[in-house]
């Protein structure tokens, strides 16, 4: 590629012997220093001459350098299409599998082999899939509630109070969040299978295994640090005067947190809540291991989907249908919450 601006430096012609002038129209016939400045400039301004010997690719590159936005736009479309394809195609394929009647589940790529929407009803008939969904929903909701309450208190302390050891404590929370959750599994499983007499009135046998607590406890702990960080940032930004005003008006510090700081941090609370809900709802490891997989024992959706896998056959089309059904609540939540988050951001308008 030749840059026509090379010729703006007449002395360069003499020095760059290894790169001889390619375009005679841009050169002075004598190849020497210009006799007059105006003559030289008229050649350089005439850009059309330089295009004459460019190929299509060179032309495209030259245009891109001239106008980088074109490239960025093209890159955006390529990337967007790529990501949309990788995220949405599995869902499309799941739908195709779900719609294919049992026994014809081979070579499905873009179209189902047949049409059997009844699979979406069948999933509830073969096993009580709605119970699994209910379990998952309750567990995710309870974890989110625990996370929001505890993380709010932590976020208040970290974001609004000055106390010795605040930064080290905050770092400790961060460090704990780096631990792989699997590292906690064996001790937790042991703990949850140990019988405690004071739990007998609640769980019957005194263990937490096969109860929602066995999932809510570790899951809320695992997703707590993220929520703490989000809420610390948001609570820390509420002006001190508002909290002082609430306290003078008649609330305690806690009252000020719930009546003033949290409502004003609604976008942050919504963000932390939605992230926690989605994460716990989608969680695999503990969800798989902390119950025995029976719907009456608070097994989540994961166990429900795997329950279509019998000893002699695997009902892939029902697994696919159940997977799609399982995604729906989260999809709805995200759509609703996103609107809330955006409206919260615009309505917040704090005046300091």
């Amino acid at each position: 590629m030749s840059d026509p601006r090379d010729t703006t430096d007449p002395s360069g012609i003499d020095e760059s012997g290894a790169d001889p002038p390619r375009d005679p129209t841009l050169r002075r016939p004598d190849g020497g220093t210009p006799a007059s400045g105006s003559d030289d400039a008229s050649i350089l301004k005439d850009g059309r001459d330089a295009e004459l010997d460019r190929g299509p690719f060179q032309q495209w590159v030259a245009d891109s350098i001239e106008n980088p936005d074109r490239v960025y736009r093209a890159m955006f479309y390529v990337a967007a299409v790529f990501f949309l394809f990788t995220t949405l195609f599995p869902f499309y394929w799941l739908l195709m599998v779900a719609l294919t009647p049992e026994g014809q589940l081979q070579n499905i790529v873009f179209t189902p082999n047949g049409f059997n929407p009844g699979a979406f009803v069948e999933v509830f008939q073969v096993i009580p899939f709605h119970v699994y969904m209910f379990n998952s929903f309750v567990i995710a909701l309870a974890s989110t509630a625990v996370v929001l309450v505890v993380a709010s208190l932590a976020g208040y302390a970290f974001g609004r109070l000055e106390f010795p050891g605040r930064t080290p404590l905050m770092l400790l929370v961060l460090v704990i969040s780096f631990f792989p959750p699997a590292a906690f599994f064996i001790p937790l499983n042991d703990l949850f299978n140990t019988s405690f007499f004071f739990l007998e009135p609640i769980t019957g046998d005194g263990t937490l295994y096969n109860t929602p607590f066995a999932l809510v406890t570790p899951l809320s702990a695992i997703f707590m640090p993220l929520a703490i960080f989000i809420l610390t940032t948001f609570y820390g930004q509420i002006p001190d005067g508002l909290e002082d005003a609430a306290r003078v008006e008649g609330t305690t510090r806690l009252g000020a947190l719930f009546r003033v700081i949290i409502p004003l941090s609604a976008p942050g609370v919504a963000t932390a809540g939605v992230l926690t809900f989605i994460a716990t709802y989608n969680e695999f490891f503990f969800s798989f291991l902390m119950t025995d997989g029976q719907p009456e024992n608070w097994a989540p959706i994961l166990d429900g989907i795997l329950a279509y896998q019998g000893q002699y056959q695997v009902l892939y089309h029902l697994m696919a249908a159940a997977s799609i059904l399982g995604v729906i609540p989260v999809a709805i939540l995200v759509v609703i919450a996103q609107e809330k988050i955006v409206s919260g951001l615009t309505a917040g308008a704090l005046k300091e």
């Binding site: 002082d244 005003a245 003078v248 008006e249 008649g250 009252g255 300091e352």
Partner: protein
């Protein structure tokens, strides 16, 4: 309504002492202003009354009860904040009624009291607006309504007018005074603006570096400041200070001498450094000074800069050649400059040589080292001996 009493309040933040051993008492129904430069501890002192800050040492009493360890909500105080601090997610009605609703008043009572409070601060018809839809003055009125609606024992106002524009500030100043009269309330008011303090208060508490400098009626602070800081802080423009040395028959400064019997000053003797203070309005041109009964000897000066303010003209006087051209020097502290205020019809121009005299009855003397006041008014009248704690005789 109630008295407020602070006993030896000290607040330290680590090594930093924000408030240093402040004791004072605010009478029932009194309007007391804490005034001082930024960082002097006035807001911290108020926060210890509100309960938002725990004093490191000392006790706070409201009425007859000690409230040092009580939460803010249990102290019967209401507060108006500098940044207004309305709850942005509540409308005006909810903002004003916040405290009442927390105290579980029934709805009818809440509505009645909110409307009454809104009436007092002239917010009728705005109860369903959001704070963000209101102007600064309206917002601050909501803040005041939120304070008065609970009928508290003590009002605390932390620079409530600081965020308002100048015109509105003067207007709200009058409104607050009217409000104080109507409610007959005990008010503690914090400001860094000495004009606000002078105009509104029954008494002013001047603070500096966390220490109480003087607590007295505004005019007492003006006419009989207890030390150099109060003298310089109260009054605008600031008092002139001229450092000098006590000699046998008076006070000698770089450029002039003021006759005085040193024996009238206790604690200092001949040869000790003494600072003379005189307000700009007590410096007079000799040709207009006939009405003065007791003036100092003539002081030669040259006018430097004139600042016509409309109702008066500030004249910067250079007392010696040395002062000429030293732009940075502040007449309040420079020994070779004086600031004089004259009426606008005075014939005077910049660069003119003039003679001035000081009104001896308005001269203040301070011990240079400690800053403590030695004497207010040099007039040596029998039977009316002015001392360090005189009555209003000199005013």
């Amino acid at each position: 309504m109630a008295r407020v009493r602070l006993e030896n309040i000290t607040k330290r933040y680590g090594e930093e002492t924000a408030v240093d051993d402040i004791s004072l008492e605010v009478e029932d129904g009194e309007f007391v202003t804490f005034v001082g430069p930024s960082g002097c501890g006035k807001s911290t002192t108020m926060e210890t009354v509100a309960g938002l800050t725990q004093p490191t040492e000392g006790r706070v009493y409201i009425g007859d009860d000690e409230v040092t360890d009580l939460a803010p909500k249990d102290r019967g105080v209401a507060m108006v904040f500098q940044n207004i601090a309305l709850f942005p997610h509540m409308d005006v009605y909810e903002n004003i009624s916040f405290g009442l609703r927390l105290r579980k008043y029934d709805d009818e009572e809440v509505r009645r009291r909110v409307e009454e409070a809104a009436d007092i601060v002239q917010l009728e018809g705005m109860l369903d607006r959001m704070p963000s839809e209101m102007s600064g003055g309206q917002q601050q009125r909501v803040g005041i309504a939120r304070a008065i609606v609970r009928n508290p024992d003590v009002f605390l106002m932390d620079e409530p007018l600081a965020n308002l524009d100048a015109k509105l500030r003067v207007h709200m100043r009058t409104e607050l005074q009217r409000l104080h009269r109507e409610l007959d309330a005990t008010v503690i008011y914090v400001t860094h603006d000495q004009a606000e303090a002078m105009t509104m208060s029954n008494r002013i508490a001047v603070l500096n570096d966390g220490r109480l400098q003087q607590i007295a009626a505004p005019l007492t602070c003006y006419n009989e400041p207890t030390n150099l800081f109060v003298a310089g802080f109260i009054g605008s423009p600031s008092m002139n200070f001229v450092e000098g040395t006590l000699v046998e028959d008076g006070l000698e400064t770089n450029n002039f001498t003021v006759g005085l019997d040193p024996s009238r000053l206790s604690g200092v003797g001949v040869g000790d450094p003494v600072t003379l203070g005189v307000r700009p309005e007590d410096v007079h041109l000799t040709r207009y000074a006939d009405s003065l009964t007791d003036s100092t000897d003539r002081i030669e000066a040259r006018t430097d800069v004139l600042e016509p303010m409309g109702d008066e003209v500030f004249v910067y006087l250079l007392l010696s050649e040395a002062a000429a051209g030293s732009m940075e020097q502040d007449p309040a502290t420079s020994p070779n400059q004086l600031l004089m205020s004259v009426t606008p019809d005075t014939e005077i121009e910049a660069g003119e040589d003039v003679d001035v005299v000081l009104d001896r009855s308005k001269i203040h003397l301070f011990e240079t080292a400690s800053g403590d006041a030695l004497l207010h008014g040099l007039t040596d009248r029998s039977g009316q001996e002015p001392g360090t704690t005189p009555t209003e005789a000199d005013t």
